[in-house]
């Protein structure tokens, strides 16, 4: 007999909600967000945690602006695999090779894709005096390009070959990642001879060049330098005066030499036989390739879009249109070309068709993060609110109904809870346990039920003096029965109203904790996205990073508040009469 009254009291708010325009809008928006949370894996375009990286055969050329300022300008991409090395042909052109068997020829008509017959990674190319190009790469790949024809050469072992340079028209020196030094002789059928390294510890050799006196100089890991004398057919240790890994080497015909390496190291030699001098460079990040002319003018390129030029006095960082990683320099006549790019992180990209809401500082897709963020918000919002209502309503009912000592104890507890500030308390919980979703929900609910308990209690206080309660008591109804069957249905409207408000409050509370970095780790939430944005220091420029999450929080909470407002009408019937 009492059950229908429950249903009635539950159905009433629904009817009310549906009769209020703002509430209907709220309900619709909330449904959309709930749908978004449920369908997050389908809706998101990327894995929200994945660092998005791009590999690209990037080409930048050196251009002079109208004001004479240098700008390295991004040219159309050659393909999807990074260029690793290039060499000029002495006639204003050159050849570039790269990962995945990429080979391109640069000439008067621009770039032509030549291609290689396998997709092995090619690491170096050297064009000989007769125009033959020698290409080396991973797995002991050695090949000669004559015109457009490839001739493969068998290697003694499948070593990772890093660099190659011609000694004369018929012989070349190849160096590899585990200290291989191979002499290739093309006088008749190609013959590869292994030269004994003077070090023999398996250190990587990354670059090799023909020096002005006809000897060959190879550089590599730990600042290692090895000089090979073709006359004696022997290799000996040389010194560059650095212990950094060297990545690139270039020697001009008259003996100017430049070696560049990790940590922005550039060492130079003015002429054959002079000392190598380490020079100060404007960045500490890796340099990968260098070029030095007979007059000592020099350029070096490195990772993260670093292009530095030596103006005779010092190295200067040049503005480049891209933050890509450069691997090679091609000086083809008057044209200066920087080539790259290994996988680079697509950081802080503005919204585009690939990333609708752009990317963050680690190149993660923000649209997907925002979509997934709805899950935590709703989970904490609803779970927290339910928990709050459960505690708050019962405490309020019991305290209001029984009064006396029970009430005192319960309401003093509420007083104590009121005295505890939210954020510091949540921090203590996090320090006591580990940061987790449970902690967040616990923190939110432990400090919110106090309001509900108070409200319900005051309502119960006046209800318990009403005639129908007194009548039930006279009729011999038990306390529990009176509390839950007589009084509770009358506070139901208030409970619903509070529930809706608490959902909103919980969502904001969760966002606040996540913004302060106290949220659950390894999960994505709107507050957490804003936390990252602020922490990274990039939020002033990356508007696409900090606008959407806040907007989502606002919309969600607002829609909940709209719904709650219509519920207020049943909690307070006098209002309805006047509306």
């Amino acid at each position: 007999m009492m059950i229908p009254s429950y249903i009635k009291s539950a159905a009433k708010p629904l009817r009310l909600v549906l009769s209020d325009r703002l509430a209907v809008i709220g309900l619709a928006v909330l449904s959309v967000i709930i749908a978004m949370a449920l369908a997050a894996p389908l809706l998101s375009t990327h894995d929200p945690n994945v660092v998005n990286e791009v590999e690209d055969a990037s080409v930048l050329t050196r251009q002079l602006g109208e004001d004479g300022a240098v700008l390295w300008t991004l040219e159309p991409s050659l393909g999807e695999y990074a260029i690793q090395a290039a060499d000029e042909d002495g006639a204003g052109g050159g050849i570039a090779v790269g990962r995945h068997g990429s080979v391109f020829r640069y000439g008067p008509d621009g770039w032509i894709n030549i291609g290689f017959d396998t997709d092995v990674d090619l690491n170096s190319v050297a064009i000989g005096p007769d125009g033959r190009a020698l290409v080396v790469g991973a797995n002991g790949t050695i090949a000669v390009l004559t015109g457009n024809d490839w001739t493969k050469v068998d290697a003694p072992s499948p070593a990772e070959l890093r660099a190659v340079a011609w000694i004369d028209a018929e012989t070349a020196l190849i160096v590899g990642a585990t200290e291989e030094i191979w002499l290739a002789d093309f006088t008749s059928a190609p013959i590869i001879t292994e030269i004994k390294s003077p070090v023999g510890r398996g250190f990587a050799l990354n670059a090799v060049q023909r020096d002005a006196d006809g000897t060959m100089l190879a550089v590599g890991a730990r600042g290692l330098a090895i000089r090979y004398d073709p006359a004696k057919k022997q290799a000996a240790i040389d010194r560059l005066g650095t212990q950094r890994e060297m990545n690139g080497l270039h020697i001009s015909p008259n003996g100017h030499a430049l070696a560049v390496g990790e940590r922005g190291v550039a060492v130079r030699r003015a002429a054959m036989g002079e000392r190598w001098v380490e020079e100060e460079t404007p960045d500490t990040r890796a340099l990968r390739a260098g070029w030095v002319g007979d007059n000592g003018s020099a350029i070096a390129v490195g990772r993260n879009g670093i292009i530095i030029e030596h103006d005779g006095a010092a190295w200067q960082r040049m503005p480049a249109e891209s933050e890509r990683h450069f691997r090679a320099l091609l000086v083809a006549g008057d044209t200066l070309i920087a080539l790259g790019s290994d996988r680079f992180v697509n950081r802080l990209a503005a919204p585009s068709s690939a990333h609708w809401f752009g990317t963050d500082h680690l190149g993660r897709d923000l649209f997907s993060q925002n979509v997934y963020g709805s899950r935590i918000a709703l989970l904490v919002g609803f779970l927290g609110a339910l928990l709050v209502m459960l505690i708050g309503t019962n405490v309020g009912l019991v305290a209001g109904y029984f009064r006396g000592r029970t009430e005192t104890v319960l309401m003093r507890t509420v007083d104590v809870m009121y005295g505890i500030p939210f954020e510091p308390f949540a921090l203590i919980l996090v320090l006591l346990f580990e940061p987790s979703l449970t902690i967040v929900i616990l923190a939110v609910s432990l400090l919110t039920w106090r309001t509900v308990a108070r409200l319900i209690r005051s309502q119960v206080l006046s209800l318990r003096e009403r005639p129908f309660v007194k009548a039930a008591r006279v009729a011999g109804a038990s306390d529990l029965r009176i509390m839950y069957l007589h009084i509770f249905p009358n506070v139901m409207p208030l409970v619903f109203l509070e529930l809706a408000i608490i959902v909103g409050v919980s969502i904001i509370a969760e966002a606040t904790l996540s913004f302060l970095g106290l949220g659950p780790p390894q999960s994505i939430s709107w507050g957490g996205i804003l936390h990252n944005a602020r922490l990274s220091g990039a939020w002033r420029t990356a508007w696409w990073w900090n606008l959407p999450p806040g907007f989502f929080i606002m919309t969600t909470v607002l829609s909940v508040f709209f719904i709650s407002r219509s519920l207020e009408l049943i909690a307070n019937p006098r209002l309805r009469a006047r509306q």
Binding site: T284, R303, L431, E434, P435, G517, N532, S536, G537, W539
Partner: protein
């Protein structure tokens, strides 16, 4: 593409596992229990937090079950150092100038420091290492000591008790229209003790304004235990020796330091020095300071003063330091870190740690004079015109503006409210600063290091072969490239390459190589089950 290679690697792994599994006694082996990597929360340090995920991803590919546990920093420290309750933890040591001497970092692998609370929580225990460590700490011949230090690095690296993940560059910036002559110092950035002495004002304002995201705990030379406190106090207290920007010891308040024997050091003071209250500075003051620090057991200097027995004034300007044990680093480190306090103001204070801020005598003899401190807002100093170094100082004072975080500091720099940052900028601020004409961005290599330390008391990390294999499976190159945007360097030794004199470039380097890691695990007696999970 990525998923594709992973799947390929996986199936390859499964097939090898099956092939070997059939031949060996794999069925008798058990799954390796899950390991937990402890790291900081994302809020405390996003770099270390993300680094844990990069490591875990590759370890999981090896078939190891890995959990990641981000923890609030103080809890993390407690679990790591005090309770030693961890499997593997990512943490770091900051590069303070006094740590350029290898003593401290090398000590973190000494088994005598492996008790709870000690600096070697991983419990690495190698008798040969300990022996060499003691030898180097007592070796006065610097070349011989270097050989020992190089040997130490070669001794521990093959055992891989920890993996040095990377050295992170400190990227700071200053306003090049306001000041010139800013030189960065390794491990200190621009806010070194020389910074204010070398800065040359270019504009109207001659007071150098430094902005930092934190403030000192306090400015009590007998209570402050924070870097921020001492970085400020060293500007108005003199020391006997200061370390130069090239980190060479430079005579400062002392004019001569002679080691009479291994345990006796004679020091002669500069003439004519006075404290800021006008009283002369004599050998009595210096002797008093050292003895006072010893007597009050000021913990922060405990390690520096441990080898010291006492100091006696042998004349107005001469002193003798008596050590209780030979110490190779004492002359450089202790003499350059202990401030000289005025005896007449401190001798009556029995409980210096309990002084209220107003009661602390802020009187030193240094190149700057303490002017004011408004907690949470600003600290200021004015130039000491009577100081022996005064002619070389171009600024008329220094102010340190305290902000809530680097966001505030960066805004201050952008709006020219401050002239330089005292702390590294966040990754997202660097490109903004680079684009701004009047800001110069300086990248300073650090010799402090971030590391993952294995708990060698726990399986499976008790076994060096396992640690070696797992080190090979750490893509540290990727951490530097992705997390640091290239501004840093993969680490191979606890003595960083920027500390060129002591660093050994020829130690074993564990290049990232999953195949090698798998092979190493197999050699160490591991196998894999049909799902690719690691067994032993």
């Amino acid at each position: 593409m990525k998923a594709c290679t992973r799947r390929l690697g996986y199936s390859l792994l499964v097939s090898t596992a099956l092939a070997f599994g059939a031949a060996s006694v794999a069925s008798a082996q058990e799954r390796v229990p899950a390991v937990t990597i402890g790291t900081t929360t994302e809020a405390y340090d996003p770099i270390r937090y993300e680094a844990a995920f990069i490591i875990a991803e590759k370890w999981r590919e090896l078939g190891l079950e890995v959990n990641i546990q981000p923890t609030e920093f103080s809890t993390l420290l407690g679990k790591f150092y005090d309770e030693q309750d961890f499997d593997a933890t990512i943490i770091g040591w900051s590069g303070r100038v006094d740590r350029l001497d290898p003593q401290f970092f090398l000590g973190t692998l000494d088994s005598r420091q492996s008790a709870p609370g000690g600096n070697n929580p991983g419990g690495y225990n190698n008798a040969k290492y300990d022996e060499l460590f003691t030898a180097q700490s007592q070796e006065f011949d610097v070349e011989k000591r270097r050989d020992l230090v190089h040997q130490l690095q070669e001794v521990y690296t093959p055992d891989a008790p920890l993996t040095v993940l990377f050295y992170r560059d400190e990227v700071v910036a200053y306003n090049n229209t306001a000041f010139d002559g800013m030189n960065a110092m390794a491990g200190e950035g621009l806010y070194s003790e020389w910074g204010p002495m070398q800065a040359k004002p270019l504009g109207e304002r001659k007071t150098l304004r430094i902005g930092g995201p934190q403030e000192p705990d306090n400015l009590n030379p007998l209570a402050s235990t924070s870097v921020w406190g001492w970085k400020w106090m060293r500007l108005y207290y003199d020391r006997l020796v200061r370390l130069s920007p090239e980190v060479e010891p430079v005579l400062w308040a002392a004019t001569a330091i002679n080691a009479v024997d291994e345990k006796t050091i004679d020091v002669t003071l500069r003439e004519g020095m006075t404290f800021h209250d006008g009283k002369p500075l004599t050998a009595e003051d210096v002797a008093f300071t050292y003895n006072y620090y010893k007597e009050k057991k000021f913990a922060y200097f405990g390690a520096y003063l441990a080898p010291l027995d006492n100091v006696e004034a042998t004349g107005d300007l001469t002193l003798r330091f008596n050590l209780s044990q030979p110490s190779a680093s004492f002359a450089n480190i202790a003499l350059s870190q202990i401030p000289i306090l005025p005896k007449h103001l401190w001798e009556g204070i029995d409980n210096p740690g309990e002084l209220t801020p107003e009661a602390i005598p802020m009187v030193g003899s240094g190149p700057f004079v303490h002017k004011g401190y408004s907690r949470g807002e600003i600290m200021s100093l004015s130039k000491n015109d009577t100081h022996f170094h005064a002619d070389d100082i171009a600024v008329d004072g220094v102010e340190f503006v305290i902000y809530a975080d680097m966001e505030g500091v960066f805004t201050g720099l952008q709006t020219a409210a401050i002239d330089m940052t005292a702390w590294r900028m966040e990754a997202g601020q660097i490109p903004l600063a680079e684009k701004q004409e009047n800001l110069t961005v300086v990248s300073v290599p650090d010799f402090g290091y971030y590391h993952l330390t294995f708990n060698t008391r726990r399986d499976p990390f008790g076994d060096a072969a396992t640690r070696r294999a797992l080190t090979m499976a750490m893509d540290r190159e990727r951490m530097v490239n992705v997390l640091l945007d290239g501004r840093g360097e993969v680490g191979h030794s606890i003595i960083a390459p920027v500390n060129a004199f002591w660093s050994n470039p020829f130690v074993e380097q564990f290049e990232f190589d999953m195949d090698a890691a798998r092979a190493a695990l197999k050699d160490a007696g591991y196998s894999w089950d049909a799902e690719g999970r690691l067994l032993k």
